[in-house]
Amino acid sequence: MDEYFIKDLMVPISEYATVPVGATLFEAYLALEKAQEKYDHDKYRHRAILVLDKNNRVIGKVGQLDVLRALEPKNENFKMFEDISKYEFSSQFILSLREQYLMQDEPLSNICKKGAQIKVEDLMRAPTEGEYVEENTTLNTAIHQLVRGSHMALLVTRNNEIVGILRLADVFAAIFHTMKKCEIDNQ
């Protein structure tokens, strides 16, 4: 793996989907689509959008699960599930309750309206300490961070500025590329 460097594997932030704080969920999706169009079609697709403050600093990340979570019905029943989860009921029990109540509500109803109403800052997650990695850090360390934090990507920094995204999919591809190469060399 020594031949790989984080800066070689990362997606430069200029090629990544970003939106300013205050953008709607729909605007975030358009940004993702636009970034993908510009991006090399042979590579893995982007799956997240970065949210920037007015100084263009990354303050949050919106992933696919965040979007789906935001589109789920948020009625009184939803709050009730959140509340009773802590009372040690089994996950099957909570799931059966959810299914029972979801049948009374269409999860994707008003999707157009929701897309225009939901602001990215309402569903983004602020990066945690373990989601940053310096561009000169070894790839082994980056892999450890990805595994330990179950992250889909890390934010790559240079002098405390975010310069790119190291995606799990790209690291995974690099590892298998190395394995494949070893196999060929051994034959």
């Binding site: 009773i84 040690e88 009921f89 309750l97």
Partner: protein, 475 residues
């Protein structure tokens, strides 16, 4: 600032440190709840009898109006009108069964209260925690009006008014107003007001949540105010009756008490009350114009008014029964409020179970059929149907069951048998099955008859005003 205030500040700080993760500040809730100027006004007292162990130790504590029995150590704590009953503790040589462990008890169990403050709280039963069987500890804990800490070791907790923690070890938890928790072991939980949670890991899990706006009519508590609502008004309106029994040195009952029954001299009994054989009426119980049939009991803070109890009735700590006819073997759980009217009485069929913290408040006659289990808030027939199930039906549940705000998972049969076993055990411990012919089945109703009471007093003035001197009371 005197020693008592310094002590209170330190207790609050200890609780806040334990509850910092839940971002809870106990001070605005409790600072005015313990009337510091009243801590000199009331004596503390303790019971002695040939049938109870005696080992009481008090150090650097305020104990105003509080009652002690059995084995108990209190240090650096403030207790205001509390009951600490150490008469069901384990004894050296007993064995405790926990799952597959049969654990020997190496020394007599003690209730050990440290760095805590309680208002009108009941502490009773024994530690069910297999990790601490000889020490029923309560530390860094604050509890408020009419809370019950029942067989529940506690470390770093706050209990709201009329809350109950039953047979559960709790660490760093907030127990909301009028919540009941029986869950084995809990930590770092904020239990919302009006939660009734009964869980036996691997067997069953019952949860009911009160509609909070409706609960507020009955009991409401927030920072900066005293607890308010129908429940508080109900007990406050009868406070003066208790004042009389506490002020008089010798008090005799105004009716014949059977030789096998026990009527505590610190209970209020008003005409025209009759009690049957093997009845237990505990201190701070209130009985008015009622009949308690053979083997019935009225535990601490129970109120039974204009009611008839057929016999072998368990009325757990804080249960209130007004204008009701209650069948045999009915269980009424902790802090329940069963409120009929003279023209609209409540009747409860035999062998029914009224879950802890149930409110039945009716303006029309209501009959609960025999063999039913009832929970939550019931104000009419429709509510009853939405908040009850027959015990036979519940016993058939094998996986899960929901009804309104009630959620149940597990074995209904196990749930029912757990309750029925416990009811039987309570009746047994209270002496309901006592047989005077062969003297078998003695319990509290018989053992409490030979009880005398001594009083102890705090410093009336000075640096330690309101605190009691260090006292050790042993045989």
């Amino acid at each position: 600032m005197n020693a008592l205030e310094k002590l209170f500040i330190r207790i609050v700080q200890r609780v806040n440190i334990n509850l910092r993760e839940l971002e809870f500040d106990a001070k605005p809730y409790v600072w005015d709840l313990i009337p510091k100027n009243q801590m000199t006004k009331f004596y503390a007292f303790y019971g002695i009898s040939p049938d109870h162990p005696l080992n009481l130790q008090f150090k650097h504590s305020g104990l105003a109006g509080s009652y002690f029995l059995g084995q108990c150590r209190v240090s650096n704590s403030l207790l205001y009108k509390c009951d600490v009953r150490g008469d069901e503790l384990k004894k050296k040589g007993d064995r405790f069964q926990f799952k597959n462990f049969n654990i020997p008890i190496s020394k007599d169990e003690e209730i050990v209260i440290e760095d805590s403050a309680f208002v009108k709280t009941l502490i009773h039963n024994f530690s069910h925690d297999p990790e601490t069987l000889e020490k029923f500890f309560i530390k860094d804990t604050i509890s408020t009006h009419y809370a019950n800490i029942h067989g529940s070791p506690s470390d770093g907790c706050f209990l709201g008014p009329f809350s109950t923690v039953d047979l559960t070890t709790m660490r760093d938890c907030i127990i909301g107003t009028f919540s009941y928790v029986q869950a084995g072991e809990i930590s770092h939980l904020n239990i919302e007001p009006g939660t009734v949670w009964v869980r036996s890991p691997g067997a069953f899990n019952f949860l009911y949540r009160y509609p909070i706006e409706k609960l507020k009519d009955y009991i409401y508590f927030k920072a900066g105010i005293k607890p308010q609502g129908i429940l508080m008004d109900f007990v406050e309106n009868r406070k003066e009756d208790f004042q009389r029994v506490f002020d008089v040195v010798n008090i005799e009952p105004s009716f014949d008490v059977p030789a096998t029954a026990s009527l505590d001299r610190y209970a209020v009994v008003r005409p025209s009350t009759r009690i049957g054989e093997n009845v237990l009426v505990s201190q701070r119980a209130y009985i008015e114009n009622s009949y308690l049939g053979k083997g019935a009991n009225a535990q601490e803070n129970c109120y039974i008014i204009n009611s008839r109890l057929a016999g072998n009735n368990v009325n757990a700590h804080g249960a209130k029964i007004i204008e009701a006819d209650v069948g045999e073997n009915v269980f009424v759980g902790f802090n329940s409020f069963l409120h009929g009217q003279p023209e609209n009485r409540l009747s409860i069929g035999k062998e029914s179970i009224i879950m802890p913290h149930t409110i039945i408040d009716i303006a029309e006659p209501l009959a609960i059929p025999a063999g039913h289990i009832v929970w939550g808030l019931v104000t009419n027939q429709d509510d009853l149907e939405a908040h009850s199930i027959s015990i036979a039906e519940l016993s058939k549940i094998k996986t899960r069951f929901t009804k309104g705000n009630m959620f149940f998972e597990g074995s209904g049969e196990n749930f029912v048998s757990a309750f029925q076993d416990r009811i039987h055990h309570i009746l047994e411990a209270n002496g309901a099955y006592f047989n005077s012919h062969d003297n078998s089945g003695q319990g509290h109703a018989q053992k409490n008859q030979n009880m005398s009471f001594n009083t102890i007093q705090p410093y009336p003035r000075g640096e330690y005003e309101g605190l009691f001197p260090t006292i050790m009371i042993q045989p």
